[in-house]
Subunit: 282 residues, 2 copies
């Protein structure tokens, strides 16, 4: 693993790393914010999953999260949104291929070779962090968060690994990808035509199929009502309905006037980090 | 004037406008953050001048200033750093031409036609704001701030217009452009070889030549000590020496470990906006 960038920020360090991924079979880049507390104690970790067209830098540059993370003493890991490189399959569209991994393990050609983002985020990256930052990060205290496609990723990964993640935060999330044009296109490409396989990666289905909703991590979802993708792509009401049917803790906050942008995320990231920190014991 | 973008942000509005500039003889773009208070009262205005290679968007996306501006009830105007367009003279180098206007009125060919950034920032833009936002902005209460080349701009413009600006904030500023390779290159191109003309735009010279330093706006300068441009380009000690010689109020804060980036600005922008607000009566 190679450190490729670092900046002091709010008394801590905003860093960027590159490593050879054995899961995605390519070089992967991720960002890590270490709060000042990490110099003396092991700090809990929030994973931030970004949306379509993003890489590991968007959240780091635009969300203003470091200020709050420095106060609360939490690290933030922001992986890339897909495998990358000349040898990695791609598509001209912004919503498929590089920058659009959808946090699934692809089974279909030409995607399956590299597009193993579920395993990368859930297994390889945490193992790498545990190995490289044993004295700095406390990986027994994890939270997960994300935006849009990354909100889908955070919800889906959090619900599939309820013993791992203390809480789940999402902004403008694709809450029912099976019913969203973005999700349908990506799942058909990465997972094939058998929609039975899609259900493993659909938050609303996963939630509906849960036996004990009360045992799941609590979810906080922030949704702007001026979000141009809301009606067709995001379906937060599906998440609410599924949560209610199984007794899971989901709070959806609808915000008049806010759109899908990082200006929305920046406006409410403090609330979400405090929510995650409270449940992680930070 | 045309509004080309808007996002709700911390209860206020982050907007972007384009207008035909009679000073720069081209279309100019600027950003405006209106805090929530602007819906009911006229709010004071901070101008933010960005550095080399930037446009009106860098500060807006990366500094996290809207949160503090929303709390304090101040508007922030971020102009572009130069004239732009196919018809506007340019240079392949990052430190001359488009993105590198240095906030001067160029006198030399081919720059003089469009590169009138001093007059644009000091006269045309405030007049436009006064006309378009008469019920929203209180242009009798102005502060000015900037980073690197824009720190030079904020200091130089603030010192040349001491009755206009209540206070001046700068990050990583080029404090003595006449002694900086960046400044020498730009001033030679825009202002010609006669260095006598350069002195009108050199903060340290302007300050040294002041009769009554105590009548100048107070200055707060933030400087990272891991800034790779510090030794050769920035010269904060020249500003301090000049301030001391004339009894001007200059506080220079040197920060161990911080570099020239927006991660540095984001870390300390709250202090600077509070400093400006205090002096503007916000």
């Amino acid at each position: 693993m190679e450190q490729i960038d670092e900046h002091q920020c709010f008394g801590g360090w905003q860093r960027r790393y590159r490593h050879a991924s054995k899961t995605c079979h390519c070089a992967m880049t991720f960002a890590l914010y270490l709060p000042p507390q990490a110099e003396t104690v092991r700090v809990p970790v929030v994973y931030w999953l970004s949306g379509l067209t993003c890489n590991d830098e968007n959240f780091v540059n635009k969300a203003g999260a470091q200020r709050v993370a420095a106060e609360l003493g939490i690290a933030i890991v922001a992986p890339d949104t897909s495998p990358r490189g000349e040898d990695v399959a791609n598509d001209e569209a912004y919503d498929l291929g590089q920058g659009a991994g959808f946090y699934v393990n692809a089974t279909e050609s030409p995607w399956a070779t590299h597009y193993q983002m579920y395993d990368y985020v859930v297994q390889e990256l945490p193992e790498l962090l545990a190995e490289q930052f044993a004295d700095t990060l406390d990986l027994s205290r994890e939270g997960i968060a994300g935006h849009s496609m990354g909100g889908h990723g955070a919800l889906m990964i959090g619900l599939r690994n309820p013993d791992r993640f203390a809480a789940i935060s999402a902004f403008s999330a694709i809450c029912a990808p099976i019913e969203s044009p973005w999700g349908q296109k990506a799942f058909a490409a990465y997972l094939g035509q058998d929609k039975q396989h899609w259900r493993e990666y659909d938050t609303s289905v996963l939630l509906s199929d849960t036996r004990d909703g009360a045992a799941l991590p609590p979810i906080l979802l922030e949704q702007g009502l001026a979000d141009g993708f809301l009606a067709e792509q995001l379906h937060p009401q599906k998440l609410e309905e599924a949560a209610e049917s199984v007794g899971a803790s989901v709070e959806v906050r609808r915000r008049e006037g806010y759109d899908h942008s990082y200006f929305f995320i920046a406006s409410f990231i403090e609330d979400h980090l405090r929510f995650l920190a409270r449940h992680m014991g930070a």
